[in-house]
């Protein structure tokens, strides 16, 4: 069996293929690797945004959705990209310029930054620092800053309300998210992503000749459920659609954005969904591991499964009211996640 995680990281391999070494090799390899990974994600987002989202929602609501241009309407992606980018960029009066412009940039880039430490299988892994997990959470949290900048800088009350709601939700749900992830760290004893994945490849038990790996979703399903729910709130999808809440506060923090900025915000949202899926996959579903198919394919399947889940929730579950939403976060998720952490620590302590 081919080891799922090659010890060689992507920049080194690129440098090796180009015959470069030393600092030059590191810089060129790093840049090319980052370029490759960013593009992999942008392509997936392009499919997810203008096409898959419509198709999935249509399937839930008994409709057909895009099917006019290209096979299965796939070329809609191209036309939509052109359409969105060619729209007029309307900048309202009295917006707070630097923050109004920087906000939409921060959202997608923070999510892309998080992917730097995610092992995607087949050696597609940009960096593997010892603090990998913390880095991923830290990077994705920068998005909150972007949202606040948009909400504040737009000079619009709906944006302001949306921005405030976004901060409230990020504070309320990021703590349970990180604490739940910490319960995995209790098992692994390390924050390094490659190590987290490698430990999950160990066999858990063997049933009728089929070896079930030690994925933490199997070891601690409770933590997995908590993580997925907190993740749903992090990416702002129903029932935690509160910061955007169309039909209540129009579009929340993105009310005043059009054209390129609008695209950037949407891009960011989708990459965030994928990052949420990638974290769930890495921490709980064995990263890129899986039978027969190559690791990268499995990784893609896992993050798309999470994407499908968010869209499903969006079609089927009502949005919570903002106070109920915070109640669930502070009174429910926080307590449960700490209980989970304490229990995991005790169990691991007793066994080890």
């Amino acid at each position: 069996m081919v080891p799922l995680q090659s010890q060689v990281l992507l920049p080194e391999r690129i440098a090796g293929l180009l015959g470069l070494s030393g600092t030059v090799g590191q810089i060129v390899g790093g840049l090319l690797g980052a370029f490759l990974i960013a593009n992999l994600l942008l392509v997936q987002t392009a499919i997810a945004g203008p096409w898959a989202k419509r198709k999935i929602t249509a399937a839930f609501t008994d409709r057909i959705a895009v099917n006019r241009i290209g096979p299965f309407g796939l070329l809609t992606i191209v036309t939509d990209a052109v359409r969105l980018l060619s729209k007029e960029l309307i900048i309202p009066e009295d917006v707070d310029r630097p923050s109004y412009d920087l906000g939409p940039l921060l959202v997608p880039f923070s999510a892309l930054l998080g992917f730097a430490v995610i092992p995607m299988g087949n050696g597609i892994h940009l960096a593997d620092p010892e603090t990998g997990l913390v880095f991923a959470f830290a990077a994705s949290s920068i998005a909150s800053l972007g949202i606040v900048m948009m909400g504040y800088g737009s000079n619009n009350k709906y944006s302001l309300l949306g921005g405030l709601r976004a901060i409230a939700s990020n504070i309320a749900y990021e703590i349970p998210l990180v604490v739940t992830a910490a319960s995995v760290v209790v098992f692994t004893g390390t924050l390094q992503m490659s190590e987290v994945v490698a430990q999950q490849a160990e066999p858990l038990l063997t049933v009728a000749g089929v070896t079930i790996p030690q994925w933490f979703a199997f070891v601690n399903p409770f933590a997995f459920v908590l993580f997925v729910i907190a993740n749903l709130a992090e990416v702002g999808r129903n029932p935690f659609d509160v910061p955007e809440a169309p039909t209540e506060i129009v579009a929340g923090f993105q009310t005043e954005y059009s054209s390129v900025y609008f695209v950037l915000i949407y891009l960011g949202e989708f990459i965030h969904i994928f990052l949420g899926g990638a974290l769930a996959a890495t921490l709980f579903l064995g990263g890129p591991a899986g039978p027969i198919l190559p690791g990268f394919i499995w990784f893609t399947i896992k993050i798309w499964a999470f994407y499908l889940f968010t869209q499903w929730a969006r079609s089927a579950i009502p949005r919570l009211r903002v106070d109920q939403f915070l109640d669930v976060g502070w009174k429910g998720m926080l307590v449960l996640s700490f209980a989970n952490l304490a229990l995991t620590a005790i169990i691991v302590g007793v066994i080890a």
Partner: protein, 556 residues
């Protein structure tokens, strides 16, 4: 008029005055003169005795429902007519006529007695020019504040352009702060907002996420429907207009409101066969309308991508197909005629009945799906139960009717209480829920769909067996209708949103002298501030959705 007396309480024989003379005795000196309207006795009172008269009628005679306020300008006076009736017995009606002098048209406001008079009198002031003393907030309601003149008054110059300079034309969205310092934030919800179901502007003051004050600003869709009807002839020309009031698939219900008023005014009989077709068609419209209401309500609570909206549209589409087969139109039906309907059921009849039966067979399953998806969803219950509370007394004072009233436990449905069409011959129930909240109103609509299906099924049974030679679709109605001068009538039907009433005063010509529409949405929308004070923004939006307003009918 039937005089069904209410049950005496505690053995005490309490007979509420209903006949004209009894009411005249109750009012005593207050009555200056008496009139006879087709639907009710009319009492002319002094302009400064409005509150006393209405209070006495409400408290001592049980007239607790101010259905409508009609104002009009006559040759020698202005007149405000208060159409009173009772929630317990709709057939007890009385009109209070308040004349006001031409040179100084002021009369006392009824707002302290009936809260619903607030908006109705504002409309009278806006369009006719009658001023109301003691009114808390006498502003224009349908037209912009800067409008010159009162369009339905006699000396109004239609051709004079309404030019208002930009500085005078206050941009409704410009207002930004209520006061210099304070913790509240003023937000304009609408006129273009995803949750206002049309062009409604809700001036909202927020205290954090909570609603401190709400002031619905209407009139963006005002199309002078009343005046247009006044310039058309009774016989054929008015009928297309009702379709455009509540345009969200309640066309036939609206047409019936006009048909009922005009038929009673002109003493026109409707053949039984036509009544059954009318009843069936109207109930289809009610189903379509409630489906849309449930779908858009889900949209407000769930968010923009909910599956329920499309499910509701899918089922509504089946109803629209049936209505299309019946009337040839999808929304603007123009199917009723005075004295009947325009044509018989489509041929082949068996196929038409088959379509309807298929729809009725599938409906319980579809409704089960709605209950699975919506009403039994825990999050939705958390969102809607005990939010947007409208106590029955408040609802009555505001003249709320239809599912909004029935969701507050008020057992009031004109189809049963003031029977018309074929309803009193059929087996069905009036649905009420006691929750008074958003959830109750949702539940009432879903359950009413079942009742409408029951009615349709019975109508189809009757129509299928109707002998071919007796299929009279229209009675013999004169080519030109000229009701006698000064005949006045106020008649209402149970439309999808509530009591849709029409007041017509004939002036001896073939066109109405005054045509007034009592829109259920207009009265229901007035309860929004009561329902949403102190609630969160999402609940205010949900309450607005649960009122199920159609702005075409609010603004007319």
């Amino acid at each position: 008029m039937s005089l069904e007396e209410p049950e005496p309480e505690d053995g005490a024989v309490e007979v509420l005055p209903t006949a004209g003379d009894e009411i005249a005795e109750l009012l005593g000196d207050l009555v200056v003169d008496r009139e006879e309207h087709v639907n009710a006795p009319g009492f002319v009172i002094r302009p400064d005795a409005v509150q006393e008269t209405l209070t006495r009628l409400r408290d001592e005679a049980g007239f607790d429902h101010l259905s409508c306020v009609t104002a009009e300008e006559r040759e020698d006076r202005y007149e405000s007519i208060y159409h009173l009736t009772s929630f317990d017995d709709r057939q007890r009606e009385v009109s209070v006529v308040v004349p006001a002098p031409k040179d100084d048209p002021v009369s006392e406001s009824a707002e302290p007695v009936f809260r619903t008079a607030d908006w109705h009198e504002r409309e009278a002031y806006d369009l006719i020019g009658v001023e109301y003393d003691d009114h808390p907030d006498l502003r224009r309601i349908l037209l912009p504040d800067t409008w010159q003149g009162h369009p339905l008054s006699e000396n109004y110059d239609q051709d004079r352009p309404q030019i208002v300079t930009l500085s005078e034309w206050e941009n409704p969205l410009a207002e930004d702060h209520r006061e210099e310092e304070g913790d509240t934030m003023y937000v304009n919800i609408g006129p273009h907002h995803p949750a206002t179901h049309g062009v409604l502007h809700v001036k909202t003051v927020l205290d954090g996420e909570q609603v401190a004050d709400v002031d619905p600003d209407i009139g963006y869709l005002h199309r002078c429907e009343e005046q247009m009807c006044q310039t058309k002839t009774y016989r054929h020309q008015i009928m297309p207009y009702p379709d455009r009031w509540d345009y969200a698939s309640s066309g036939l219900l609206n047409e019936w409101a006009y048909a009922r008023a005009a038929e009673d005014l002109n003493d026109i009989d409707v053949p039984e066969y036509a009544q059954i077709i009318r009843t069936m068609g109207a109930e289809f419209c009610r189903i379509a309308s409630h489906m849309l209401a449930v779908g858009t309500f889900a949209l407000d609570v769930y968010g923009d991508f909910t599956a329920i909206f499309m499910y509701a549209m899918r089922d509504r589409e089946k109803v629209q197909k049936v209505l299309e087969d019946l009337t040839g139109q999808r929304m603007m039906f123009n199917y009723f005629r005075l004295g009947g309907v325009v044509w018989d059921l489509p041929e082949p009849r068996e196929e038409f009945f088959e379509t309807i039966r298929d729809f009725l067979d599938d409906l319980p399953e579809a409704l089960e799906e709605y209950h699975d998806l919506i009403t039994s969803n825990e999050i939705l219950q958390a969102r809607t139960i005990d939010t947007g509370v409208l106590p029955p007394e408040v609802a009555k004072s505001y003249g709320a009717t239809g599912p909004v009233a029935r969701g507050s436990g008020i057992d009031y449905d004109l189809r049963r209480d003031d029977p018309y069409g074929y309803y009193d011959e059929l087996e069905w129930d009036v649905i009420t829920e006691d929750g008074c909240d958003n959830f109750s109103r949702l539940l009432v609509r879903l359950r009413e769909v079942e009742e409408s299906a029951k009615i349709i099924e019975q109508c189809v049974d009757l129509l299928e067996d109707w002998p071919e030679e007796e299929r009279t679709i229209q009675s013999n109605v004169p080519r030109t209708l000229r009701p006698e001068d000064d005949t006045e009538i106020y008649r209402a039907v149970e439309a999808a949103k509530g009591e849709l009433g029409i007041y017509i005063r004939a002036d001896g010509t073939e066109k109405p002298g005054r045509f007034k529409i009592r829109s259920p949405c207009f009265s229901n929308l007035q309860t929004l501030p009561e329902m949403s004070a102190g609630e969160y923004i999402p609940d205010m939006v949900a309450s607005l959705g649960s009122l199920d307003i159609v702005l075409g009918e609010v603004d007319r």
